[in-house]
């Protein structure tokens, strides 16, 4: 993206459109966080595009004073890929939900991560289908009662960040809708060149209220939230406890903060990232940038190949249509 210097404020990034989420929806908090973050990113509104699928969360682009494309259910990554390949100068954000990105759109999510298109993917995970009035989603925990599962869901949920890791993502982070740490996560995602996958725990007050309270609630935030920082020890509970590797079981364990075995967070370690993403229920939830290891981006590789191959060739349509073995017909066409 080309440098941009006009100073903007959060307001400059908001549209005049009436926001249409339920009162108290976590989406409001995320919208505010994004609008507050944009001015710090040194990008221009006209070069910013928000692409979304379908869902409550996917209404997001209408509220950003940038270019925006509210596409169809599950296909935002595919549309965004076309946008970015056609104009790599654009700063592309994808807004999606747990149903949009992981139910109907799971395949496109995998492929955009695998290809590593430079973009920010914000997955609003409320573990429910909000817009269609509350059916369970692929991230809903077993036993979720919903209009389509009145007796409780039975299928095992997917872990979004683990899915991203398995899909080859090079940047994986987590945030919480109302948590002050969200803007920092968004900045890190934007700073990363390549597909940045950000799972945002978002509260649906109407259909899945407080489903994340067991770790987002202020009262338990201390024990239950492990905010990771590259190069720093994995500490939580006001730095009183930490994570270390149990060399016998080769799994993570909780130790006292002063234990020398406490792991220093290396965002490049995929094996540890897998363990952090899937910390058992009695562990805290890993938040912040869990994994980051930049690689060549898709659009840059495409552009570079297009350039390299075209180099030295002068496109000549007339020559092209006349290519291959040709012959000249001289004689007059017969009169008719």
């Amino acid at each position: 993206m080309n440098e941009h210097t006009t100073i903007t404020t959060a307001k400059d990034w908001a549209t005049d459109q009436e926001v249409r989420w339920c009162p108290g929806c976590g989406d409001y908090a995320v919208l505010k966080a994004v609008q507050r973050t944009m001015p710090d990113l040194n990008v221009a509104r006209e070069n910013t595009v928000f692409v979304s699928g379908i869902g409550c969360s996917s209404r997001f682009p209408y509220y950003m004073a940038t270019y925006g494309f509210h596409t169809i259910h599950g296909r935002a990554p595919a549309v965004a890929t076309g946008v970015k390949l056609a104009n790599p100068e654009l700063d592309v954000w994808i807004i999606t939900g747990d149903g949009d990105a992981l139910s109907i759109g799971g395949n496109h999510t995998m492929h955009i991560l695998r290809r590593n298109l430079d973009c920010q993917i914000l997955l609003f995970n409320n573990e429910i289908y909000g817009l269609t009035k509350g059916q369970y989603s692929p991230t809903s925990h077993v036993g979720t009662r919903s209009p389509s599962t009145p007796f409780g869901s039975v299928d095992r949920p997917i872990t979004p960040c683990m899915y991203a890791l398995g899909s080859g993502a090079r940047f994986i982070a987590r945030g919480i809708d109302v948590h002050k740490g969200l803007p920092e996560v968004l900045k890190a995602a934007h700073a990363h060149r390549g597909a940045s996958f950000v799972e945002i725990y978002q509260n649906c007050v109407v259909y899945n209220d407080d489903v994340f309270a067991h770790f987002t609630d202020r009262s338990v935030a201390g024990q239950k939230q492990l905010w990771l920082k590259a190069g720093e020890k994995m500490l939580f509970e006001n730095d009183s406890k930490g994570l270390a590797l149990d060399t016998a079981t080769l799994k993570l364990k909780v130790v006292e903060a002063d234990d020398p075995a406490v792991i220093i967070h290396d965002p490049k370690n995929r094996g540890i990232a897998a363990m952090l993403i899937e910390l058992p229920a009695d562990f805290p939830v890993a938040l912040g940038v869990i994994y980051e290891d930049p690689a060549a981006t898709f659009e840059s590789a495409v552009v570079e190949q297009n350039r390299k191959i075209a180099e030295g060739k002068t496109p000549d349509l007339q020559a092209l249509v006349a290519k291959g073995q040709t012959w000249q017909v001289e004689k007059e066409p017969r009169a008719e």
Binding site: A65, Y67, A78, L85, A86, H111, L317, V329, P333
Partner: protein
Amino acid sequence: MTQSATHLLTPAEAAAHPPREAVVVRFAGDSGDGMQLTGGQFTLSTALAGNDLATFPDFPAEIRAPQGTTFGVSAFQINFGSTAIETAGDQPDVLIAMNPAALKTNAGDLRDGGLIIADEGEFGARNLAKAGYDANPLEDGSLARWQLVKFNISQLTLDAVKPFGLGNKEALRCKNMWTLGLALWMFDRERQPIQDWLKTKFAKAPELAEANIAALNAGHAYGETVEIGGQVHQTHIAAAPAEPGLYRTVTGAESLALGLIAGCQLAGLKMFFGGYPITPASALLHHLSRLKEYGITTFQAEDEIAAICAAIGASYAGQLGITSSSGPGIALKGEAMGLAVMTELPLVIVNSQRGGPSTGLPTKTEQSDLYQAVYGRNGDTPIPVIAARSPADAFDCAIEACRIATRYMTPVILLTDGYIANAAEPWRVPDMAGYTPFPVHFHDQPPAEGEGVMPYARNAELARPWIRPGTAGLEHRIGGIEKQPGTGNIDYSPASHQEMTNARVAKVLGVANSIPDQALAAGREGAALAVVGWGSTYGPIHQAVRRAIGRGEDVAHVHIRHIWPTPDNLGPLLKGFGKVIVPEMNTGQLKTLLRDQFLVDAQSVTKVSGQPFRIVEIEAAIEGALS
């Protein structure tokens, strides 16, 4: 406009049946025998000899079916002559059978008295069994209906290439060149171009080039010197009369690629091509992916949905998005087509039709996706549809699709089929200067102070402005939900939905104002009978109608390129004919559209066998309709 090397038959010529100065040759062998290559090169030499021609490659669905099996047979048919050739020919006059399976599966099509040339070296017990022969047909007289010429091509080839010390397997690979050599002799052709081609093809392995050339020459010499017996004599087919100019052969897939490139250049746009491999559409992806210097980005997506969605995204960003597939893949694109209609973005959707339903017959041709193209979406979702009638015609149709898509800000569906995609025909190289550009204007004027952006304001033709992200002051949001006219803001109100629906319908119908009137391909207005076709049935219909006219019958040929919307004069034109029949390689799809639109009593003539119509089949239908 370009045209293929065709002249209209004179009544005299047309009366002749089959035309005297035309020959139909079919090369048939094992998938491994390189019959498509042989056919392709023979086609080239035929073209260079100035004959008009049409070809029909017919290969198995399997990549490489086991050797010697009937389902592993690959065939290439060419019809060439000194008169206009528009089909690959109803029945071969000459069949070259490289093994028993090839003979078994193809002999039946040969005209009575036709010539069979067989490689008896391949007629061993094992191959005979594989082909399901109890006795050797070359011996048991079961081929009496035809002239049979057999010799051991395999052995003759081995002898010819011995000097180059190839392994037996590799040596035998030269069989097809030996055969080609013989064919070149039979029809009095130059070997030079083929020798040149072999040299470049095997530039990295000169000994292979030499061996193949030796085989080629040996086959040619064999015809020249050896006494094969009266049946195989040299025939010279005079060059066909044609518009003067520079010619080349082209397949539909090639001309389609060239046309799309030309269309983008005429619009002044870069091309974004999103595709997912599928037979027979893949060829287009393959051709375009080699031509990056023409400002093309090709994207092999994870599926057809992603392919069209990426193309839509690219169009939103200011390139011309193009996507291509075949029936099953097009079915998957339906929902996204609706998004393109709602967001009113330019988009070209190419459907290379194949046999259906479902996976159907991937390598066979059919035109059974017209319903899908015109009607196959949820909601009232009009999309212009045009259809190519021949490999050469695909070039102009592609340009036309780009023109409509950008001028009217709409997706456009371009129909072609497996036959057109693979078939080759001579093509007069177009003079690109003859095409008027239709440069796109991107809206880039920010609204006046206090006024809002109007992404859904409409021009006289009801097209909305195309605004590229990156344009300061014109930031706006679009999507698949119904909108308020002008502002494009989400709006579910009855008035807005009615107005936007009407605008979408009227805009597409308005395309009719910028397309030419429907012309007659043959015959006169108000004729007793009109044969109305579309797409690749052009050849057989045209020949059949010309022959009928030659017999003095009052028949006309109408071939429709613009399926939707149709030219303004089409209705009156059709109503003027005594009778209307509609031959289609489907169960009657264009027929539905014509009857609905014009209330004419169009009657279907259908064929759904995966094979193109034969001229005689259309002739029979004409006789039937007239009697």
